[in-house]
């Protein structure tokens, strides 16, 4: 943002005369654009999720509003805004009302530091990763508040579950992020991205075995932090009716749902920025990309593509896997993820020392090997999906049905 403002000052006389006002306008404008943009991202994600779920479950999914039902999210949103905002009589009314805001703010504040390009970022904070961990913790506050204020035992159980779960998995997620931050040497998202290259073998995920494993730890832990299946215990439908948002309706319920789907993007974006090369375009150096506005947009498109693939994977997992039990979840975190994460941090530190001592080709060879391993993993997944689709195709078809 700062760099862009300097650029703006050189081009625009108004900005030279009133720098403070111009900066204020720029920040407000960027905020509005970003909130609009991510709202427009979270909405279609709900449509994608429902269509993907429909496809996986041999049904159709929403297909009435707009082409292929694409505008269903607008219709649902409008419907929820028009509905009565019901507050239970026995609820703590003030807490019940304000509980949605921390959840909403916690998710949307992360967009300040998540970059889409060298200039397309709210603020390149030098403590970006810490800031991200801090604001996502706000979500827990809101969920506990809603669970308590609803004055329903199911909501309370959901709130308690989410408190335990999110606080625990934040530790594991933090460890995994730390593992990747050590080679990058900075907590700023821009610095972390600039440390990586555009090609897959230059990404941090394949920098060392430690970061390779940290990628999986972070992905799992962030699923748990975002209350996604297989860790969707706070709103476990078959156990807790709807968990912390049982008593919510109308606009407030929409805000919970909205935050949840925006959070999907946050999960994808953080992984993209930290592990998967962020907005770097293969074969283009940073200076070229910074100076060309079209390359910046191309970088943003690459970033969004990578994040969307990860969003798709989360959706895919949600409609495939069953749910863990609450004690298994905590056991997994504190007995396996946290010690393993600490081990990864130590390994990453050793790797830094080791990489300085051995010739460059050794570390490069290891990166290439890890890239091949990752590619084999992805290819194996695709082959299996393809195999299952083929197996379904070869099965006899009922001509007498439908």
């Amino acid at each position: 943002m700062g760099d862009f403002f300097e650029y703006l000052k050189s081009q625009w006389s108004f900005a030279q005369e009133h720098p403070a006002l111009a900066f204020f306008l720029l920040v407000v404008g960027y905020g509005i654009v970003m909130i609009g943009f991510f709202s427009a991202f979270a909405g279609p994600v709900t449509w994608v999720e429902r269509r993907v779920a429909g496809r996986m479950q041999c049904r159709i999914g929403p297909n009435r509003v707009g082409p292929h039902g694409f505008l269903q999210w607008l219709a649902d949103g409008l419907k929820n805004f028009l509905k009565e905002d019901l507050i239970p009589n026995a609820a703590d009314k003030i807490l019940f009302r304000i509980a949605v805001y921390p959840v909403f703010a916690g998710v949307f504040l992360t967009f300040v530091v998540l970059p889409l390009g060298p200039w397309i970022v709210g603020a390149d904070l030098s403590v970006g990763v810490v800031y991200l961990l801090a604001v996502t913790a706000l979500v827990v506050t809101g969920i506990i508040m809603s669970g308590w204020a609803s004055n329903s035992k199911w909501s309370l159980l959901g709130g308690i579950r989410s408190a335990a779960q999110m606080v625990s998995y934040e530790v594991a997620a933090g460890m995994a992020l730390l593992t990747a931050i050590i080679p990058a040497g900075s907590l700023s998202f821009q610095d972390i991205i600039e440390h990586q290259g555009g090609w897959p073998w230059q990404w941090l995920v394949v920098y060392s075995p430690a970061t390779f494993l940290a990628f999986f730890v972070y992905f799992t832990a962030s699923l748990a932090e975002g209350n996604r299946t297989p860790f969707d215990l706070p709103e476990a439908e078959s156990e807790l009716v709807a968990g912390y948002n049982t008593e919510y309706s109308g606009m407030r319920f929409l805000f919970f749902a909205f935050a949840e789907w925006a959070n999907l993007y946050v999960i994808g974006a953080v992984i993209t920025a930290v592990f998967l090369g962020g907005w770097r375009i293969p074969g283009v150096d940073i200076a070229t990309q910074t100076n060309n506005i079209w390359l910046q947009f191309a970088g943003a498109a690459i970033f969004l593509t990578k994040a969307s693939v990860l969003v798709f994977v989360t959706i895919w997992l949600r409609w495939t896997l069953p749910r863990l039990r609450v004690d298994q979840l905590m056991l997994m975190c504190w007995k396996y993820f946290v010690p393993f994460g600490i081990g990864l941090v130590v390994l990453s530190l050793f790797w830094q020392v080791l990489a300085a001592a051995v010739p460059t080709w050794v570390t490069s060879a290891i990166s290439v090997l890890l890239t091949l391993a990752g590619a084999a993993l992805v290819a194996g997944m695709f082959w299996r999906a393809w195999y299952n689709i083929r197996a379904g195709k070869d099965a006899p078809v009922y001509t007498w049905l439908i």
Binding site: R59, E239, W319, T320, P322, R323, Q328, Y398
Partner: protein
């Protein structure tokens, strides 16, 4: 009962949680009063009676054949068995012979119905554990079964197909081939289902060693069917008290063996149902191959007036022994019909088996017992 519970809870500082009658995973209108300390339950007391319709009493005011449609409502996920049990009891009372073809047709539709019911059973269990997709895959297969049975008798859920003395309709032309086509696709699809959920590690972790019911407890609570066999008790009415055409067929009785944990845990009951579907496929194939020609309805008097006496007819339903005890006083209406249904006993074991479980495990326990509300209350 309730006040006593409340007092105890207050003195022990425990939480009372009311699960049902409207709750996504109680499978109908059942209510469980859970006494617990947060997530860990001390016990869950089932409260039944929300779906009581007085079906047994209704039987006393109806002529014998007119009660058959009411039996459909005893167990609407496996209505063929409910028809069959009543028809058998009345046939024994009257002492009439059922033609072989009718017996074979009864076996075929019963086993098709068993597959449909078990698909819902295992699918709903997967859904209660959080996986929604396997449930809908099960529903998809059940739709095909519904289509087959609709073609046979015109109904998709409450069939009214097995009547006193025989069955209501013969196979329409081409249904034989359609059932065979279904079975051919069903077997590979079961493999797909197994890959998707049965061997899923999370499901195994959720079910294995959870809600263990040992063989002695299972017997003393009167569990029947897959729940009893899941505890390792080798008892199947189709083999041990043979009825209808079952002695003609070869099939295995599937038993729990502690597949991934303790004998008699929730996973055993799940696996027994999955395996029973494959055994049903075997039985249907044999019955289709050996389907004899002939009448589909025995010779019945115009008005059914059995002599004074009583008879008991029991079938191995998808939920275990479903028995009808019919007492005649010599008129054209039964003096008393008593229905013995598996789900009632299965619900009563919840209080025993749920001690010390977590709330998430209670959901698994209820689903693994495959209880269905109309069969509990009748």
């Amino acid at each position: 009962m309730e006040n006593a519970l409340n007092k105890q809870a207050v003195s022990d500082d425990l939480m009372i949680l009311n699960m049902g009658p409207q709750h996504p995973s109680t499978h109908g209108v059942i209510r469980f009063v859970i006494t617990g300390d947060g997530e860990v339950m001390q016990r869950a007391v089932p409260h039944v009676g929300y779906l009581h319709r007085g079906i047994e009493k209704l039987a006393e005011g109806l002529p014998y054949p007119s009660f058959v449609p009411f039996t459909d409502r005893v167990d609407y996920l496996a209505a063929m068995f409910a028809n069959h049990g009543y028809a058998m009891a009345v046939e024994r009372l009257l002492g009439i012979e059922v033609p072989r073809r009718a017996e074979y047709l009864r076996v075929i539709v019963s086993e098709l119905n068993r597959i449909a019911s078990h698909l819902i059973g295992v699918g709903a269990m997967a859904m209660d554990i959080g996986a929604f997709t396997p449930f809908l895959h099960g529903i998809r297969e059940r739709e095909k079964l519904n289509d087959i049975i609709e073609e046979l008798c015109g109904a998709r859920l409450t069939y009214n197909y097995i009547r006193v003395g025989g069955v209501s309709f013969d196979f329409p032309q081409g249904l034989d081939a359609k059932i065979r086509a279904f079975l051919d696709t069903f077997e590979p699809l079961m493999e797909e289902f197994d890959r998707l959920i049965t061997v899923n590690e999370i499901l195994v972790k959720r079910c294995a060693n959870v809600a263990v019911i040992d063989a002695e407890t299972a017997k003393s609570y009167g569990l029947v069917g897959p729940n009893l066999r899941g505890s390792g008790v080798d008892w199947d009415l189709r083999r041990d008290l043979p009825y209808s055409a079952y002695p003609d067929f070869e099939f295995n009785v599937c038993l729990g063996r502690g597949f991934r944990g303790t004998l008699g845990d929730a996973y055993d009951r799940f696996i027994v149902r999955v395996q029973e579907m494959q055994e049903s496929v075997k039985i249907i194939r044999q019955a289709l191959d050996g389907l004899p020609e002939g009448e589909i309805k025995g010779k019945l008097p115009r008005k059914l007036k059995p002599a004074k006496g009583e008879a008991y007819g029991a079938v191995e339903s998808a939920r275990g022994e479903l028995g009808y005890h019919v007492i005649s006083d010599g008129t054209d209406k039964p003096y008393r019909v008593k229905i013995r249904a598996g789900s009632f006993n299965a619900t009563s074991i919840v209080e025993h088996a749920s001690r010390g479980l977590m709330i998430a495990d209670l959901v698994v326990l209820i689903a693994s017992l495959d209880v269905i509300a109309p069969e509990i209350d009748r």
